[in-house]
Amino acid sequence: MDGLRRNDAATLRALYMQHFPTVCGFVLRNSGTTRDAEDVFQEAMTVLWLKAKEEALQDASDPGAFLFRVAKNKWLDHLRSAAHRHMKVVHDERLPDHHDEADAGLEQRIVRLRGVYDKLDEKCRNVLDRFYFERKDLAAIADEMGVGEESIRTIKYRCMMRLRAFRRAIAGEEGNNER
């Protein structure tokens, strides 16, 4: 769990490689493709990661079981959609087929956070991703991007202030609408 909380790429790769085949097998047995399996598995990984980040996941939790449950529910939701109603689902009985409300809350939060991220342009993403996700220091980022450390510091500040200004504008609009 500590590796997940630190956004450690090696931990994420290991989890992916270890648990994707099980999800892939389930999706393939239920009318899906490998690409479908990737989509639901990656979403499940994101939910697991956010849960670990927000201290809502116990260290003793079984990440494989969690990933399978979330990915399975996502795929079943997809199959239940109008386009797939005629298909017969081959259930995997290892785990009860239920939706966890807390997970649904996390999924809504993920949608909201992606909406925030969408407001950033490529330049900002390039710098902020390295600093906040990869946890590189300013000197390393400056070195990688061939610019001065002070420039990176300024770019980071400006990009975060753009997000803040955007959120303030939204809050203002919501305030006006409520009046």
């Binding site: 994420l12 790769r13 994101t46 990661w49 956070l113 925030v116 906040y132 610019v147 002070e150 500040y157």
Partner: protein
């Protein structure tokens, strides 16, 4: 949410708290302040949310990369690998043919050997900073040359004698490979007497080389310059 501006020091203090990099003593003080200030708590929550959004963006990118790596390694283990050597041979032949048609001229090789784009000016924050100029400088440093060039060109309309703008517009043009646009702008600066004169002559020389204008390149007065003289003489000897 706090309605006012958030200065950089304050932003970085909140950031350090969220990332857990704030020293212990400072953290205790910060927490006291947090307990007393609803505005600071709101600012903290907002910044935590923004950092989480950026992390999520990184997470999505990394997961796609891992998925892609998995697909690539799967493809490598299929019988198609047997055909890879033939594909490689075809690619090599095509590559040689393309190189034969597209290989750089002697002038382009000299240009490439000597040209390094101007690194730009430091981008620092300050109350009197010209934000439009510095935003363009940020774009320039990050390789968004067209964006920088367009922004500076727009600023030049209201300040046509600004040597800094003229120099960096020309620098962006040359970095984009547009030597013909860079030449007149560097030429005007090279004829003047400003902080940019020597640098403008150096890049004018390189722009002439890039454009294949050998006689004009040789005519750029830079041979005795203490910074660029030696390199200018070396280029002229190669031409």
């Amino acid at each position: 949410m706090n309605k006012g501006a958030l200065d950089r020091d304050r932003f970085e203090a909140i950031e350090a708290y969220v990332l857990g990099t704030m020293p212990q003593a400072e953290r205790a003080r910060f927490e006291q302040e947090l307990a007393a200030s609803p505005a600071l708590r709101a600012e903290l929550e907002l910044q935590r949310e923004h950092i989480r959004a950026v992390e999520l963006g990184g997470m999505d990118r990394l997961l796609k990369e891992i998925g892609h790596e998995g697909r690539v390694s799967e493809r490598r283990s299929t019988p198609w690998t047997a055909y890879l050597k033939y594909a490689a041979a075809v690619a090599l032949l095509l590559g040689v043919a393309v190189w034969a048609f597209m290989r750089p001229t002697a002038h382009e090789r000299i240009f490439a050997a000597h040209y390094t784009a101007d690194p730009g000016l430091p981008v620092a924050m300050g109350a009197s900073d010209d934000h439009a100029f510095h935003d363009a400088m940020v774009a320039y440093k990050l390789g968004d040359l067209a964006e920088a060039r367009n922004a500076w060109t727009a600023l030049l309309h209201s300040d046509p004698q600004n040597d800094t703008l003229r120099y960096y517009i020309a620098s962006a043009a040359l970095a984009m490979g547009d030597a013909n646009a860079a030449i007149p702008a560097f030429g005007e600066l090279a004829d003047g007497h400003s902080a940019f004169t020597a640098k403008a002559r150096w890049y004018l020389l390189l722009a002439y080389v890039r454009a294949g204008e050998v006689a004009k390149a040789k005519g750029v007065a830079l041979d005795d310059d203490p910074v660029y003289g030696e390199r200018a003489r070396a280029i002229k000897a190669e031409l």
